[in-house]
């Protein structure tokens, strides 16, 4: 199984740590090379985030570090089978989309409350064929999560990681944490802390994770 680096360097001197983007590296990967490669990829997302801040008149508080995952790094999708709120099991390995966001959250996490609707807006302007969003509740009782979402109109599944097993396997150390996977389900980016998804276009995400350089996935059938 590939391993993530959770406590990575590469913070680009950002004043607001809660909005930092950190990269996700294979544990055996050459960090320096990854950093170098990441910085070029980082430009798009970071600049988008800053643009949005400028538009709303906010102070510069969101610029973040971003490190790309070396190509070929994989997550253990085989253990990612989680029930949704209706009791239907979801298997990450069967998820088909050009970009897959796996978003770990908790109802007690304040930034998560604002980020979930932003993810919904992202998927609405992206189209279901291009983007799949899986949000994963970490360590909370079903009823609490169900009530939390009762008033939200969300089109993506809310999955229940009741025992935190997936979060532990993916080395999630703070909430929210989001992984951006390509259509091969390779993790390419990691966002630790909340992120301004409203400032991102799917095309930019796709470009950043190198989607357009990847040959089409052979799904069989």
């Amino acid at each position: 199984m590939s391993r993530f680096c959770g406590d990575v360097t590469g913070n680009l001197g950002v004043p607001n740590t809660s909005r930092r983007l950190v990269g996700c590296l294979a544990s055996l990967g050459p960090i320096v090379l990854a950093l170098t490669a990441a910085l070029s990829l980082a430009g798009t997302l970071v600049s988008v985030a800053l643009t949005q801040d400028d538009e709303v008149g906010a102070e510069d508080s969101r610029a973040s570090a971003l490190i790309a995952v070396p190509p070929g790094t994989r997550v253990d999708t085989s253990s990612f089978r989680l029930d949704d709120l209706a009791g239907t099991q979801h298997d990450l390995g069967k998820t088909k989309a050009n970009v897959v966001l796996v978003h770990f959250f908790a109802t007690w996490c304040e930034p998560c409350r604002e980020e979930l609707p932003a993810l919904q807006r992202l998927i609405e302007r992206s189209g279901a064929a291009d983007l799949a969003v899986l949000v994963v509740s970490v360590g909370e009782p079903d009823d609490r999560v169900r009530r939390f979402f009762a008033s939200m109109q969300l089109s993506f599944p809310v999955l229940l990681d009741r025992e935190r097993q997936v979060a532990k396997a993916w080395r999630v150390e703070t909430l929210p944490t989001t992984f951006v996977l390509n259509r091969e389900l390779e993790p390419r980016l990691m966002v630790e802390g909340e992120f301004a998804w409203d400032g991102i276009k799917l095309e930019e995400l796709s470009d950043t994770i190198g989607l357009h350089k990847t040959p089409p996935r052979k799904d069989g059938g």
Binding site: D7, G13, E110, P141, D143, E173, T174
Partner: protein, 368 residues
């Protein structure tokens, strides 16, 4: 040691904390719990679950902390229409709970559990070391080890090491961690319940807001990370503060949402020292008129007192973490401070008593 930006922030705040305490402010208020008279209380938890076609079960915490110096459980009684009602005991920490089970399609499940206990205030003389019994190796291991949400390595250890870098004694370390919590955290009114106490996440996110289960767990984790035995004590407030702190007591016999957890740190020679930095932050936020400064006399008095003393207008249930609920296939609870229940194997939201539902009331029953 490598120091990142957040570490530097922590260190800077730590360095500045000594500068904000006015020298004579503590004398402006009297918040002085003393271990004098014992008081007795009765607490009743009334549980009413919705009628369901599936089996239901519930777990109601019972007082299980028995410390001759300050708290004694006096027994439990209950009435219920459950098929079974059994007192269960957590094998690791000794937490106790009443485990109730109902048949499918039974009448709406109900239970009413009443517990009595006696308690008196605590105050440890921090100016001298006594002859408190040393901890056994088993106890020392139990109260220095990590829990699911309280790791003692990584960012917790790094933070603790920075905070205590200049502290040379156990007591100095315990105190400087306490002051650091008071200085650097805040009570967040939006936090549900008492929080969850995911302290590594708090530190990594740089968001040190929360409530007692967050802030006092942070104290416990930082203390354990530098080798100090420490433990959370989970309970519920049962009476007003006799020292006039509205924020640190109940306003009525209804205590359904009055859960509160505290912390203890073990100092050789002194024994378990009560601390409660989360309540200092509660005074800051909630004591009228609200949003007090750290130099407000009420805050200064609370800050001075709550390292070494507790007013025990409060019931201590247990000191348990990661509690498996007997008969449940669901996840362990981070701590057992709220009633828990499941219908058809689905865990109810213990932080939502109106829908759950449960009501907790308390009254003093001290003989006159």
């Amino acid at each position: 040691m490598k120091m990142n930006r957040r570490d530097a922030l922590h260190a800077g705040l730590f360095a500045s904390l000594a500068a904000v305490l006015p020298r004579n402010a503590a004398a402006q208020s009297s918040f002085a719990p003393r271990p004098d008279n014992w008081r007795s209380f009765e607490i009743t938890t009334r549980l009413d679950l919705e009628k369901a076609q599936s089996a239901a079960q519930a777990w109601i915490p019972l007082p299980a902390v028995n410390e001759p110096e300050w708290t004694r459980p006096l027994g439990n009684s209950w009435s219920t229409n459950a098929r079974t009602a059994v007192v269960e005991r957590d094998s690791k920490y000794g937490a106790q709970m009443l485990h109730l089970e109902w048949e499918p399609a039974a009448d709406p499940p109900m239970a009413e559990v009443t517990s009595r206990f006696s308690t008196r205030d605590r105050a440890v003389d921090l100016s001298k070391f006594g002859n408190a019994a040393p901890l056994s190796e088993v106890e020392r291991k139990l109260y220095t080890e990590p829990t699911a949400l309280i790791p003692t390595d990584g960012i917790v250890r790094r933070t603790a090491d920075m905070i205590t870098a200049n502290a040379t004694s156990e007591l100095a370390k315990a105190k400087v961690i306490y002051e650091w919590i008071v200085e650097n955290t805040f009570r967040n009114a939006r936090t549900r319940g008492c929080g969850v106490g995911d302290i590594a996440a708090m530190l990594r996110a740089g968001n040190l807001g929360g409530k007692c289960a967050d802030l006092n767990a942070l104290y416990v984790g930082l203390a354990r990370a530098v080798g100090l035995p420490a433990r959370d004590v989970y309970g519920v407030r049962v009476a007003p503060s006799k020292f006039g702190y509205k924020s640190l007591g109940t306003a009525s016999p209804a205590v359904t949402k009055a859960q509160h957890c505290r912390a203890e740190v073990y100092i050789a020679g002194m024994g378990w020292v009560p601390v409660d930095p989360a309540d200092v932050r509660k005074v800051v936020l909630e004591e009228p008129p609200g949003n007090l400064s750290l130099t407000d006399p009420k805050v200064v008095a609370a800050r001075k007192t709550l390292f070494g003393a507790w007013e025990t207008n409060w019931l201590a249930y247990n000191m348990a973490h990661d509690v498996r609920l007997p008969g449940s296939s669901g996840p362990a609870v981070e701590f057992l401070m709220y009633p828990q229940a499941e219908i058809a194997g689905s865990r109810l939201d213990s932080l939502d008593p109106e829908h759950f539902k449960y009501v907790i009331t308390a009254s003093e029953v001290t003989p006159t």
